[in-house]
């Protein structure tokens, strides 16, 4: 508590144990009924974290099964359910809500200098919608599971003898959870910025969450109506997607990807935001091309609405549509490339602290480069006709979803962990875990590029023997990756009990979130902050007082 931040009045330490949002009240209802954005963020962190572990367990089962060409553990039917559960849990319960729900909720109001999000009750509702969605997903498993793949493609999803309606309703609720979170962030960003915090003084994490929120609000309703229609179709055979009743399955694909392509950016934009923050803080350097990164977030958000057809290049859509969608798809590559280059340029000639958040960030930058570049390969029409629905696509989107988004989430978690809980985890273990995850991840997914381009289709419970070496390597990688994640969870949880006290400004950040006490008090700021400096201006940082670890 020694920081003398120039733009804030110093908070005088009144007692040894200052009241903060964690210890200001206790009991079940003080959490379950809380309107405090930080507590809701913690609840999201626990919820999405559990969903991630469940999804990861399913992934391990899938990988173990595929060790042998005829499958090692399950029947085809069980395998289909497990890979579906893996996809649905990871996408709907973890990747989409995790960063906005936990880190976004926690940090966005702090970065804006607000006391809370603009609509706290809606925020709590949003969390409970997530819980209800998760309960319905669990119920669907009890009621017989679902084996449609996370994409729910009609007409298979209409005919299969499984609990599709239950999980459909779950996804409907999860969709509205996501919408309400996004809505809240838009309003908060517009209306609750601290005096002096102009749009171009906002940290890039806020920009990224804002662009994400636009997508959540504008795209998710179409997913809602799509799963509702699937449920109606199963319950009373309306025939909108059922070819036997005159419906067109391709219309389902259009509806689904109208949401689910922007959803890819709902997932990845917050990750970009985290990386922008971390690259700057841990290089102690203003971001290279701040405005370009901010605008590229918005550009990605808007272009992402125009490219959904690239998931349907083989679906039989018209050649004209393929022309338009492929052309627009390549345009997404540009703002994304600008971001990657800008991050690298920020690190260039920085003052780089190689602590664990930065290690995760570097891992992200390497993995995302591969994930992004392989996306360019898939954007080319004729090449995609060969690679579509193969393991090449599986590897590509895991490089983006798991390798980039989850790693950015881990990076952000390690970065803001001291801010959230006031304790530090074991840095050595953190570095070991990061390297393990990085190695395990690449061992898992690099072979999948190989077998994908050689023609191994995805969602196969069994496969022709020639792909076995790649599958086996991939399974070994998954085990390494799993142990890395297990290590990470262990030391993070352990730090809550035995972690040493974190510093008020652990990493030497200059955004408002680092200028409140650690952990923050209930209404975040003892005195209303006023922003007078440009964003990421490290000249205001009192280096002597932060004692930032150098890694």
């Amino acid at each position: 508590m020694t920081t003398h931040a120039p733009i804030l009045d110093t908070q005088k330490a009144k007692s040894e144990q200052p009241k903060n949002y964690l210890n200001c009240s206790s009991g079940f209802w003080s959490w379950a009924g809380t309107l405090d954005h930080k507590r809701i963020g913690i609840m999201y962190l626990i919820g999405t974290g559990l969903a991630f572990l469940a999804g990861g367990l399913f992934a391990l089962l899938v990988r173990l099964h595929l060790w042998e060409p005829n499958g090692m553990l399950f029947t085809n039917d069980q395998y289909n359910e497990i890979f579906t559960l893996h996809g649905a849990f990871m996408v709907f319960l973890f990747v989409i809500p995790a960063i906005p729900g936990s880190l976004g909720n926690m940090i966005l109001p702090l970065m804006l200098g607000a006391k809370d999000v603009a609509l706290p009750r809606l925020n709590l509702l949003s969390f409970y919608l997530w819980v209800m969605g998760a309960v319905l997903a669990a119920l669907a498993i009890v009621l017989g599971g679902f084996d449609t793949g996370w994409t729910f493609y009609a007409p298979y999803s209409l005919y299969t003898n499984k609990a599709v309606v239950t999980i459909g309703l779950g996804i409907f609720l999860l969709g509205f959870s996501s919408i309400f979170t996004g809505l809240n962030f838009i309003v908060t960003t517009h209306k609750l910025r601290a005096p002096g915090l102009t749009w171009f003084r906002m940290p890039l994490f806020v920009w990224a969450l804002y662009a994400t929120a636009l997508l959540q609000v504008l795209a998710t309703p179409v997913l809602g109506i799509t799963v509702l229609l699937v449920a109606f179709e199963r319950l009373y055979h309306i025939g909108i997607f059922d070819p036997r009743l005159g419906g067109d399955p391709v219309l389902f694909e259009h509806f689904f990807w109208f949401y689910s392509h922007p959803a890819v950016y709902i997932m990845v934009l917050p990750a970009f935001g985290i990386i922008s923050e971390l690259v700057s803080v841990h290089s102690r350097k203003p971001l290279f091309g701040y405005k370009l990164i901010a605008f590229s977030s918005l550009a990605i958000a808007i272009i992402s609405f125009l490219v959904w057809g690239h998931h349907m290049f083989t679906s039989g859509q018209s050649t004209y549509a393929m022309f338009a969608f492929s052309f627009l798809t390549f345009f997404v590559a540009i703002p994304t490339a600008i971001k990657e280059f800008s991050w690298v340029a920020t690190i260039w000639k920085g003052s780089i602290a190689l602590n664990s958040p930065m290690l995760y960030t570097l891992a992200f930058l390497i993995i995302f480069a591969i994930g992004g570049l392989t996306g360019v390969i898939l954007g080319a029409l004729n090449v995609d006709l060969h690679l579509h629905d193969t393991y090449f696509v599986v590897a590509h989107f895991h490089y983006v979803m798991m390798g980039s988004i989850a790693l950015a989430f881990f990076a952000g978690l390690h970065h803001w962990w001291p801010k959230m809980f006031g304790v530090m985890y074991n840095e050595t273990l953190a570095k070991i875990a990061c390297v393990t995850i990085f190695v395990g991840f690449n061992v898992t997914f690099l072979p999948q590029f190989e077998m994908g381009s050689q023609g191994m289709p995805r969602r196969y419970a069994t496969y022709v023997p020639e792909f076995q070496p790649y599958h086996s390597a991939s399974t070994v990688g998954a085990i390494i990756l799993g142990s890395g994640v297990a290590l990470m969870v262990s030391y993070l949880v352990a730090s809550l009990f035995i972690g040493k006290k974190a510093m008020q400004n652990q990493w030497g950040g200059v955004t408002l979130d680092w200028l409140t006490p650690t952990p923050p008090p209930l209404e975040n700021f003892a005195h209303a902050p006023k922003v007078t400096t440009e964003v990421y201006d490290y000249s205001t940082l009192d280096l002597k007082s932060t004692q930032t670890p150098i890694g």
Partner: protein, 354 residues
């Protein structure tokens, strides 16, 4: 196998290295090209090279920075505070833009080639019918169909008219670089010219349910002479034994995804075993009595030829009692199974009698 890896890694590795090797092209990333669509390979490797260039560039700068500019004291300032460099930013916007536009044009040109069916191919049109979970092929100028395998003439453009009986499937031959979803309710087309004789995989690439990964067909590309002999035409019912053999082939192609012959009724009633369709009585093969549900009424029928014919042509008329709740068999009308073929299948069923 996994346990083996832990106990004896060397042996496990040796077992792995004995796995059959796919035939790859010169750069080892794609299966050896067996059609005329070389633009796919060209663009793939061009994009691949561009990706590797940018990846090495990014990785190099990152590693260099981390080594060179690592913070050594806690108050070390950055070596530079530059936040803008307009020429640099223009360069890294414009150059990728040019590159991706080249990729787009190249890819679209190739795609047009793959979607525009030439005259020669449309005069050599096959029909591929996908159903859960097998492929059936109808030939341009031959009345006999084949299942689970298709024969093509080398260097002759061929078009496939794709049709699905139930859900989405996808017609994917990696070596030919072609893939198209098979959408129920509409026809899709795909064409290519095989340029290599040999055997190739045909996978279903769109998830279609339980046996998705077993929905496989073998593509045989043969010379014109061999093709003229119609090697897929193995149907022969001149003697009961040959008919049973032909029936077995039909069983393997159309029925074995659901029906077993070993007495294990998992997905559907088994044809063989001690509860099979036919049994031997006094040296004669006769149908067994079966519990069925007709119009919701349980009754007992004898599994004679008439019953079997009805169960194939109209599977939902009488449902086997054990499977009444989940019966989902497709009807096999005369368009899919001729009367002679059906009789051959019955002949095969009889041969299973114990």
């Amino acid at each position: 196998m996994l346990a083996q890896l832990i106990q004896d890694p060397a042996k496990a590795a040796a077992a792995l290295s004995r796995a059959p090797k796919p035939e790859l092209d010169a750069y080892g990333q794609l299966p050896k090209l067996a059609s005329t669509f070389d633009h796919v390979d060209g663009l793939f490797y061009f994009t691949y090279a561009v990706c590797i260039f940018f990846f090495v560039l990014i990785l190099g700068v990152l590693l260099f920075s981390v080594v060179k500019y690592r913070r050594k004291t806690f108050d070390q300032p950055p070596a530079s505070n530059t936040t803008h460099n307009t020429p640099l930013e223009v360069v890294w916007t414009v150059i990728p833009l040019i590159i991706v536009m080249v990729m787009f044009a190249w890819g679209f040109k190739g795609c047009l080639d793959m979607t525009t069916v030439p005259q020669a191919a449309s005069q050599n049109t096959y029909k591929a019918t996908a159903m859960q979970w097998n492929w059936t092929f109808t030939y341009p100028n031959h009345p006999v169909k084949s299942s689970g395998a298709v024969w093509l003439e080398v260097d002759k453009p061929a078009q496939f008219l794709l049709e699905s009986e139930d859900v989405l499937h996808a017609f994917y031959i990696p070596s030919m670089r072609v893939k198209r979803d098979v959408v129920p309710g509409r026809y899709q087309t795909v064409w290519f010219t095989p340029t290599q004789c040999g055997e190739f995989h045909l996978f279903c690439a769109e998830y279609c349910g339980e046996q998705h990964s077993q929905m496989y067909a073998k593509v045989h590309v043969v010379t014109a002479e061999e093709f003229a002999k119609a090697p897929w035409n193995t149907f022969d019912d001149s003697t009961p034994a040959l008919a049973a053999k032909s029936g077995e082939n039909i069983y393997k192609a159309l029925c074995s995804a659901c029906h077993t012959v070993n007495g294990q009724s998992v997905l559907a009633p088994s044809w063989g075993g001690d509860k099979g369709l036919f049994t031997k009585k006094d040296g004669n093969v006769v149908g067994r009595a079966r519990q069925v549900v007709e119009n919701g009424q349980a009754k007992t029928v004898v599994a004679d030829e008439a019953y079997i014919r009805e169960s194939i042509r109209m599977p939902l008329a009488k449902l086997a009692a054990d499977f009444a709740a989940k019966a989902n068999m497709n009807a096999f009308g005369p368009d899919k199974l001729s009367d002679r073929e059906l009789n051959a299948v019955i002949e095969y069923m009889k041969s299973l009698a114990q």
